[in-house]
Amino acid sequence: MSTAVWRIVAEREVSTRLRDKTFLGATAMSVLFVLGFFVITSILGSGSDEFDVAAASQDEERIARSAEQVLRASGVPDAEITVRRADSTGAAEALVRDGDADVALLAAGDGYTLVGDDDVDPALGAALTSAVAEDVLQTNADVQGVDLEALAQGSEVDQRLLDPNAVDSDARSGVAFAFALVFFMTALGFGMTIAQSVAREKESRVVEILAAAVPIRALLWGKIIGNTLLALGQVLLMVVVGLVGLAFTGRRELLTGIGWAVVAYIAFFVLGFLALAALWSVAGALASRQEDLQSTTLPGQMILLIPYFVSVLASEKVQTVVSMLPIASTMVMPGRMAKGDVPWWQVGVGIALTVLAAVVFVRIGSRLYERTLLRTGGRIGYREAFRLTA
């Protein structure tokens, strides 16, 4: 039984790329890049909520342990304090000096001293200070026969956040930025490859045999679908690695916050990519040689580059508008969704306009592609291509 032409063409695109070492290398690099991101943030992050405190006596150890509760109550919910017991104050200081402990809590004269190496983490310092005060107050109160609870009545200070998500707002901005960057890189990379493969078919004249055997439109569809599948596969791979990375670095609360954004991102990605794929094929068809691609792919590069910079640099109001425009929406809308609530109608408008753009671009693209694919002997300009008749 024979298979539809576009499927055979798409299969060839996919199988050729999957055997291409450059492509495999680039995919591996991007996965490593995502993994590297998590390794680095978890290394940087571990310093901020996991502490080692050296202690030389039982009192010191008890106070250090209670500091963990203080720290957790004051805005570092994941804080962990590990107490490192030393035999003497000298040994405790040695632990700090060697980097095995962040700070040593040592009894000195009337009170206590915090010994740091070159600095003491302010949050940890404050927590230990307050833990010392509480502990000593309790002891003193017992000695003086004072009811400490009665004394402290009404002095309790609680924290309440108006925007609890703001805690990980940096992380969400990071996710939004990653969305834009990944689409930009993937669409540009694949776009150039599509244009190159079309130009190569023209250059090697294989296109004559193809055009004599099958409808040119089927060739175009095969190319678009094959490459969209590849790009989607690559992005899914990166998204999965990213999500697993978030889960493993203990950011599950962030995961639930961006779930819908990820779903929207994949939808926007496919639509945005489809819309552009036809355009990249035309860029290849306009070229007669690989060198011509530099100028024929310029419009495609601009369509990606401008929204990318807008997504990174523009003000919130501009972003709201831009996030509904085709192509730009892929880079901006999922990011907005990750950062906060976006009205559903805006997402709908964004999707609808991208679908519309994809239909229009594919139509114009296939017309231009059909007219220019078999023309050799020099680069063809876009304006000239529009004027050409078959």
Binding site: S204, R205, I209
Partner: protein
């Protein structure tokens, strides 16, 4: 039968093809010759449908050719067209599948053709690692993959050594059944002479001669070489009204018959002197070509 009628193609003001008409008969190899720029490639591209004609039409068995019929043509373009970085057999199978073969059928057919061309051991190699001659064999195989109903081959043998040409010719003869019309263009007149049944000569976008090779050669009156017995003077033949002596030296003469069948004329000559040799002079195709193209 594949025919073209009044094919005309203009690029802007330049007319590269001007009212070209000829037939490519089934089971016959039609040679398509002409100088560079005469319009051979343009004609062939119009026939297979990768270029549109400004005027005129291509017909199949008398009716305008359909898209489906066009796709059944095996085409070998002048500038070779294959994927340089694709494996040979996989590439042929790809073309077979584009023509509607199943994966297994296409794989099988590709293997069979490569074996016939002696490229069995290279079938899993990347095309560009093959010599140019071998790449050209693969190109022929690509045109034959789908057992085409007609063949259009643009300069199929250019750049091949005589042994490679022989193997390709024998492949073509085996593969092409009696119903298949074959149109092939070439600069090598000697090859066309050996291989072709019919000939179309194109000059500056027009057909200047077309027909069976034998007919084209005999378009003029028959010429004969006459050698009389030792000691005779061929000059005496000038007195015979049945023939014209074009050239005479000693017992030898080149004559053109004016009337009567050759056997009759021979009898008449034999009355003047014993004849050692009497043979028809076949004009080489190159001469026919030079005459019509001039």
């Amino acid at each position: 039968m594949l025919s073209v009628h009044d094919l005309t193609r203009a690029y802007g003001d330049a007319t590269v093809l001007d009212g070209v008409s000829f037939d490519v008969r089934p089971g016959r190899v039609t040679g398509f010759v002409g100088a560079n720029g005469a319009g051979k490639t343009t004609t062939m591209r119009i026939v297979v449908g990768v270029l549109a004609a400004t005027r005129g039409e291509v017909t199949w068995d008398g009716a305008p050719i359909t898209v489906e019929q066009r796709r059944r043509i095996g085409y070998m373009p002048e500038e070779r067209g294959l994927y340089p970085k694709m494996r040979v057999r996989e590439q042929l199978a790809f073309f077979g599948r584009l023509h509607g073969q199943s994966r297994e059928e296409a794989e099988q057919r590709a293997h069979e053709l490569l074996a016939r061309l002696g490229l069995e051991e290279r079938e899993h190699d990347v095309l560009e690692t093959l010599s140019l001659g071998n790449q050209q064999r693969v190109q022929i195989a690509a045109a034959l993959m789908h057992r085409p109903d007609a063949l259009v081959l643009d300069e199929p043998f250019s750049g091949l050594d005589p042994i490679a040409v022989d193997s390709m010719v024998s492949l073509l003869r085996d593969e092409v059944s009696a119903q298949v019309p074959v149109l092939f263009s070439s600069h090598q007149l000697e090859l066309v002479e050996n291989l072709c049944d019919d000939l179309v000569i194109l000059s500056r976008g027009r057909v200047v001669a077309a027909g069976a090779v034998e007919d084209l050669r005999r378009r003029e009156a028959d010429r004969f070489r006459v050698v009389l017995a030792q000691g005779s003077d061929a000059g005496t033949l000038r007195d015979l009204p049945e023939l014209t002596v074009l050239d005479a030296a000693g017992p030898e003469a080149l004559v053109e018959l004016r009337e009567g069948p050759p056997e009759k004329v021979l009898e008449i000559i034999q009355r003047t002197a014993p004849v050692a040799e009497f043979a028809r002079v076949v004009r080489p195709l190159a001469q026919v070509y030079r005459e019509v193209v001039r």
